[in-house]
Amino acid sequence: MENLALGTIAAPLGSAILILIVTKWWKRFADIWATVVGGFTLVASILLIGSEPIVYRMGGWAPPWGICLVLDPLSELMLLVINLLGFFVTVYSLSYMEWYTNKPKFFALFLLMMAGMNGVVLTGDMFNLFVFLEIASLASYGLVGFGVEAEELEASFKYLILGSIASTLILFGVAIIYSVTGSVNMADISVFLKGTGNNAAVLFAAVLFLAGFATKAALVPFHAWLPDAHPSAPAPVSAMLSGVLVKALGVYAMARVFYNVIPVDPIFLKVIMVLGVISMLVGGLLAIGQWDIKRMLAYSTISQIGYIFLGLSLGTALGLVGAIFHLLNHSTYKGLLFLCSGSIEKATGSRDMREFGGLSKRMPVTSIATSIGALSISGIPPFAGFWSKLIIIIACFRAGEIVPGIIAVGVAFITISYYVKLQKYTLFGKLPDKLAKVKESPFAMSSAMIILAVLCLALGLGYPLLNSSILSPAANSLLDTTGWGYITNVLGF
């Protein structure tokens, strides 16, 4: 089991380099190997579900001295989220990336990003968190600019600048924490801070973390890179960025640091709540005004990430379950929607919804998948999005946060409005003459979309099962009543 967890980082990391070497002689190797590695990490992360917390000691050095990987229920869930979408996006890319020139380089960068994300959710060490976060981020800068057109390079550059600033803030934070506690091991820091309490330096470091992770998660006002980067990237990359990257680097890291490392402080939860609510509203309202299909989806991500942070900031078990469930759901349906948008863009050569219409007549699979994704994210039962939003809303009211709760309901309506716009302009109405000959996507793309669409329904119907097997344990690993659960897992006392 320990090696399986390590494998989810090592396999993609090694394969990224292997692919670059082998494809010098054998081009098809990239396709085959990326699928194999994607399949392996997916199987590994499924097998790891429900296992007892694992601490993998690098070179046998015990923490806090050695480097360690920690697999607790939250990491298990995140691994599943990342590798699940990662695998289907890989399958989708097999066909989609034919559009671009250099598929092996794409898969190399893609696997590097996967390795970085898997590392982020597994590491038990603040500095390694930064390292893996940089690996994932750097790979994603490259992937956003993969098309090397002017628009893509500009987006990639903006993303690079804002992302690097965030990374710098996080690195400063790690340095300050190290100077105060003398350790970079998360559990060890937590033990130290429980003894001393949060002094001004720790608070300062926490603000740096907050801002850094908020930028990675694209919370308003740190969101500005996202609406440029997501539409410009190739569709599979957009799906990964919106689907998992912002969550692994932003949501997960934020949750881990503010629940397990730094003793839970109500003021930070309040700040996160305010950022979450603002993101929900701003992202949603801006999405209404978009005509570029992928840009609308990008703003929608900002809005939905706001929901996740709202749930996270409540500090109650129910809120955390809602947030984690929404995170899982959002990765499936937003990944799905970006894949659909890619399929539409490939078929029509455009991203402007005003030029579409009646595509359901020509692209049945894509339209059904788009509709299911849109209904799910709009919160229509019995699809998954309904349940997670409902839990977050109930959690708000239970925690006595009436105004955020009402805003969450209001944003659910805003979400319906712009997904109605997306569906009606894209899929319904009269088919324009110039689109009369568009074709449905090839098998690899369609099958990835179909499976994700089925997942949207299955996750909704399977909520009771999911709750007991994954969601509640993950929430509890963040929020245990004593505050010592994580520490005990890692340090063994």
């Binding site: 500005a224 309202l285 219409g357 509709s371 209904l375």
Partner: protein, 624 residues
């Protein structure tokens, strides 16, 4: 036993719908599956009704600390409405066989119609507000796709508007359900009793009310219906806005207003105002429509006003009248839409200006549509009169003179606008633009209209039967009165059978007088056109008499030009009274556009936002 029955009523149409979707596209297979499934559900619903009060619970969902039993209850009103819902789906599926033949997306159409039935039965039978909400939202989503089947850009506008307005009220209801659950810890429709005394309970009631109003189509949440009517396939209109949505919306209104919340006078007044305004304003809009389906859709709004008025009175006569009117309306309005569909099928247009003289070619459609038109206009002895009469009784009893006048006047305007419909479609000469050879519709389209027309007459002539045998028992009163007995609720007295006899005698005497006096010779005069001299260019003195057409829509154009109304109609056409437009406009100009302008794409601006963000958080956190 009861479990089995409830699950069958939901599962049969649901599974049959899935079959329609996945079975290979062999000719007729989905049509037959859909019809059989709907008919079987109809049959099952007959078995459920006599059982009276039955309950069944399947499982309990634990969500966010709430225990939510997936429970059903055969509340008599629910079981009664399940019968009607299944009936409407059955006949409309039958009608669609030939109406929809050859159209795109038929598997989706039949599948979603059956799922609509399943979800509607779920709404009617569920005993838990949470599951009611789930079925309710599923219906919204299904309606969205059903309207979209129209396949044109008008359907696109309609589907969007419907989903946005209904989605908004679904969100309201969700908020209401969460608030009720938190405050009372109970979501069971049968045990929940909330006295409306303070702000919280009023807000809860209004949140549910919004959902019921939008579904039924009462003002100001009505505007999705006329927009949808422009593009959606006609059977979809007959199925949802005309019949099922009315049953469900008014069912919810009845349950929240009569069972769950104990209303105070203020909220009753709110209901009366909504009802009265809806009756008058919508019928006013209907008067000036030139497109048949849009005209009917405004009547579908206007008639909701009577139901809301009836329930708003809070007295037995009014409530019974409101519910009776709901059933009657579903009958004649789906009939009207089906007739409109028949005209559309044969004449290939529903513009009233372009049709005419069809009575000769489509006598069956003419007769049934006349019956429906007389029913909706409240002409005795048809069913619309009986239920409107009961609503009037309720208004008289509670001394709501203003709303009584409004309701009666609205009824008169309804008649006026249906005279226009009948005159335009069926009388006069057939205009040249129509297809050369027009025949009446095939038998599968006749049977539904025939059944509905028979129901219109039966519920009118023997009005005591539905009132005393169906609706009063559904509200929990047991009665034992023969079906020819007069209606005696409230202060008045109406014997529908006696009225029928008198009317027939009156018509007979009239015919007799006509026969006797017709012996003299006839005088030819210059034609008058609705009280005005016929425009010279059309005068029969200059043209051959046979070539003159009298478009039935002409007179109603003057209504638009009447003094005060002129401005109102102009505004209404521009959508000034449409909340949807306001919401869209305000949202766009206040929030969306300014924020879009802020996203300039300039990196330094974005950087400054980040820095401002960091500084703001620092200040918040570090100030003690």
């Amino acid at each position: 036993m009861a479990n089995q029955m409830f699950s069958n009523i939901l599962v049969v149409p649901a599974i049959a719908g899935a079959l329609c979707l996945i079975l290979p596209r062999v000719k007729w297979i989905k049509e037959i599956i859909a019809f059989l499934a709907a008919a079987y559900t109809f049959y099952l619903s007959f078995a459920l009704y006599p059982l009276g009060e039955v309950r069944a619970s399947f499982f309990t969902l634990n969500l966010g600390g709430f225990e939510l039993p997936f429970a059903f209850r055969g509340y008599p009103l629910s079981s009664l409405l399940v019968i009607f819902a299944s009936f409407f789906v059955t006949i409309i599926v039958l009608y669609s066989w030939s109406f929809m033949a050859g159209k795109r997306g038929l598997h989706i159409y039949y599948a979603f119609s059956l799922w609509t039935l399943a979800a509607a039965n779920g709404v009617l039978l569920s005993d838990n507000l949470f599951f009611l909400l789930i079925f309710w939202e599923i219906l919204t989503a299904l309606l969205f796709f059903l309207i979209g089947l129209g396949g044109n850009n008008k359907a696109r506008a309609g589907m969007g508007k419907a989903f946005v307005i209904l989605g908004f009220t679904d969100a309201c209801m969700l908020l209401g359900v969460v608030l009720v659950a938190l405050k009372y810890g109970n979501l069971s429709l049968s045990t929940l009793k909330i006295p409306v005394s303070d702000t919280t309970s009023t807000v809860m009631y209004l949140l549910f009310l919004a959902a019921a109003m939008a579904k039924a189509g009462a003002m100001p949440l009505h505007s999705w219906i006329p927009t949808a009517a422009e593009g959606a396939p006609t059977p979809v209109l007959a199925l949802l806005p005309a019949s099922l949505d009315k049953l469900l919306g008014i069912y919810l209104l009845a349950r929240i207003s009569l069972d769950i919340f104990q209303l105070n006078g203020g909220l009753r007044t709110v209901l009366l105002v909504i009802g009265g305004v809806t009756v008058l304003a919508a019928v006013g809009m209907a008067m000036v429509q030139h497109e048949l389906k849009k005209l009917l859709s405004f009547h579908a709004i206007s008639q909701v006003g009577y139901m809301v008025l009836g329930i708003g009175t809070g007295v037995t006569a009014g409530i019974v009248g409101g519910l009776f009117h709901m059933i009657n309306h579903a009958i004649y309005k789906s009939g009207l839409f089906l007739s409109a569909g028949s005209v559309e099928k044969r004449a290939e247009t529903t513009e009233l200006d372009q049709v005419g003289g069809l009575a000769r070619y489509m006598p069956f459609t003419f007769i049934t549509m006349t019956i429906f038109a007389f029913s909706i206009s409240g002409i005795p002895p048809f069913n619309g009169f009986a239920s409107k009469w009961l609503v009037y009784q309720g208004l008289v009893e509670t001394h709501q003179t203003v709303w009584l006048v409004v309701a009666v006047f609205g009824s008169a305007l309804t008649l006026a606008s249906f005279i226009k419909v009948l005159a335009s479609i069926f009388t006069g000469k057939k205009p040249e633009g129509l297809p050369g050879k027009i025949t009446d519709v095939p038998i599968s389209m006749k049977i539904p209209s025939l059944l509905l027309a028979v129901l219109c007459i039966f519920f009118g002539v023997f009005a005591s039967y539905p009132v005393y045998k169906l609706i009063l028992p559904a509200l929990g009163y047991s009665t034992n009165i023969s079906i020819t007995a007069p209606l005696m609720l409230g202060m008045g007295f109406y014997s529908s059978t006696l009225a029928t006899v008198l009317i027939i005698v009156g018509i007979f005497i009239g015919l007799l007088i006509y026969a006797i006096l017709r012996t003299g010779k006839m005088k030819v005069v210059e034609p008058f056109f609705y009280g005005e001299k016929f425009p010279y260019s059309y005068s029969p003195l200059t043209k051959e008499p046979d070539s003159v057409r009298f478009p039935g829509t002409e007179y109603y154009k003057t209504v638009e030009k009447l003094g005060i109304l002129k401005g109102v109609y102009r505004d209404a056409k521009r959508g000034v009274f449409d909340l949807y437009n306001y919401l869209g406009f305000l949202g766009q100009s206040l929030f969306v556009r300014p924020m879009k302008l802020m996203h300039t794409g300039v990196l330094s601006t974005y950087l400054s936002w980040c820095i401002i963000g960091v500084v703001a958080i620092l200040i918040t956190v570090l100030t003690p």
